[in-house]
């Protein structure tokens, strides 16, 4: 029978791993964080972690007992703030009791992301910035508004792939329709300036890191996800271009 302290430690370790994985952390960071939390307690030893892109399996030894926990992650988002907070928590965990760790994890879980309107506005400004990046400042205003629309679609509750297909369709069809309405807008640069909103930056980054650290299973999972997202972007764009040819 597990002691209460061991159960509490196992719960804290799993919460840390799950939070980090759900916020978009890569496999190696999650492993290190979980093992580090485990080793803050002198009675725990031999931590082992098996992490994939949506599964956490962790075991450690207390006295003569092996304690194992398994968990599945259903939803992964990109939350750089939570990743930074969990990193700080792991650095300070040595000087914390188990109750303090629990409270700190509660506090981290309850941190709210930026409000939706801010993320939509950031998408619009990001698209306008891309206009500058691709040297198309004359269309920056149109690109900004199209970016707002794409940001609104991407921050909705839709399934991620569907949202990306809809957003890429939207950003392709809008400049085409504007040009048909005799608005002086460059279709190519407008579409290209809004396209990177959908690019899965964290997924690609984590896939590369997983390859570097020889976690090929997780790398293949993430690489497949990145390719799927790329295909969704291409699908939405292709449908809009095909519709425009009708």
């Amino acid at each position: 029978m597990e002691s209460k302290k061991s159960s509490q430690l196992a719960k804290i370790i799993m919460r840390t791993g799950k939070l980090l994985l759900q916020s978009g952390g890569d496999v190696v960071s999650v492993k290190h964080a979980m093992k580090h939390i485990c080793m803050t307690q002198p009675e725990a030893s031999k931590p082992e972690a098996v992490i994939t892109s949506n599964t956490v399996l962790f075991s450690f030894k207390v006295e003569h007992q092996i304690i194992t926990r398994v968990s599945e992650i259903s939803k992964v988002s990109n939350d750089l703030n939570k990743i930074a907070l969990i990193n700080t928590f792991c650095q300070q965990a040595n000087s914390m009791t188990l109750e303090e760790m629990d409270e700190e994890l509660d506090r981290i879980e309850q941190t709210k992301p930026h409000p939706r309107w801010l993320r939509v506005l950031a998408s619009g400004i990001c698209s306008a910035g891309f206009g500058l990046f691709f040297s198309d400042w004359s269309d920056a205003l149109y690109i900004f508004f199209i970016g707002l629309g794409a940001g609104w679609i991407l921050t909705s509750q839709l399934n991620r792939i569907l949202a990306i297909i809809c957003a890429s369709f939207f950003v392709t069809i809008c400049p085409i329709l504007l040009q048909l309405a005799n608005v002086p807008i460059g279709i190519e640069t407008s579409v290209v300036s809004n396209m990177p909103l959908m690019v899965p930056g964290m997924v690609i980054f984590n896939a590369i890191r997983d390859i570097i650290n020889s976690n090929y299973q997780a790398a293949v999972n993430r690489g497949t996800e990145a390719l799927l997202i790329g295909a969704a972007i291409a699908t939405g764009t292709g449908i809009a271009l095909a519709v425009s040819l009708l």
Binding site: L80, N81, L132, T172
Partner: protein, 149 residues
């Protein structure tokens, strides 16, 4: 030079807004913007798509590592946001246009360009991470040597 500066300011805006979209906070947003600015600035000294991709990749991965050590935060906080503008979205659009117009050979040609650019970015990040890991291991071993004394 003026064009280079305008492109770099565009990259600053893009990277900082991408950091906001990924829920980055305060200083992290500005740092991500600065890294994007520097990567775009350095990239514009070179011609050739693949060299530019490699140089920009090297610049932002090195700067991300430096800032992550200064601010004591994981490198993902900066690199994930800065990566976005340098991934080839433009080529993807051209590739889809060619597919829709029925020119499959040109589309496949474009796809191979995309894979090469992504490969150069991955190579730059891989190189930086490997060098950092090598020096970290060396420092770790030498510290242990001191303890053994």
């Amino acid at each position: 030079m003026m064009m280079q500066l305008i492109n770099s300011i565009g990259a600053f805006i893009v990277c900082s807004m991408c950091s906001v979209r990924f829920n980055g906070k305060k200083n992290d947003v500005l740092i991500a913007g600065f890294i994007g600015f520097m990567a775009c600035f350095m990239m514009n000294f070179f011609t050739g798509m693949y060299i530019r991709a490699f140089v920009s990749g090297l610049t932002y991965s090195i700067l991300s590592e430096i800032f992550s050590r200064i601010t004591k935060k994981p490198v993902a906080v900066y690199l994930a946001a800065v990566l976005v503008p340098f991934v080839p979205g433009k080529l993807t659009f051209y590739m889809m246009g060619e597919f829709v117009h029925g020119d499959r050979l040109a589309a496949l040609d474009r796809l191979s360009e995309i894979m090469c650019v992504c490969g150069m970015i991955a190579l730059a990040i891989l190189l930086t991470e490997t060098v950092i890991k090598f020096f970290q291991t060396k420092v770790h071993h030498s510290l242990n040597d001191d303890v053994d004394w």
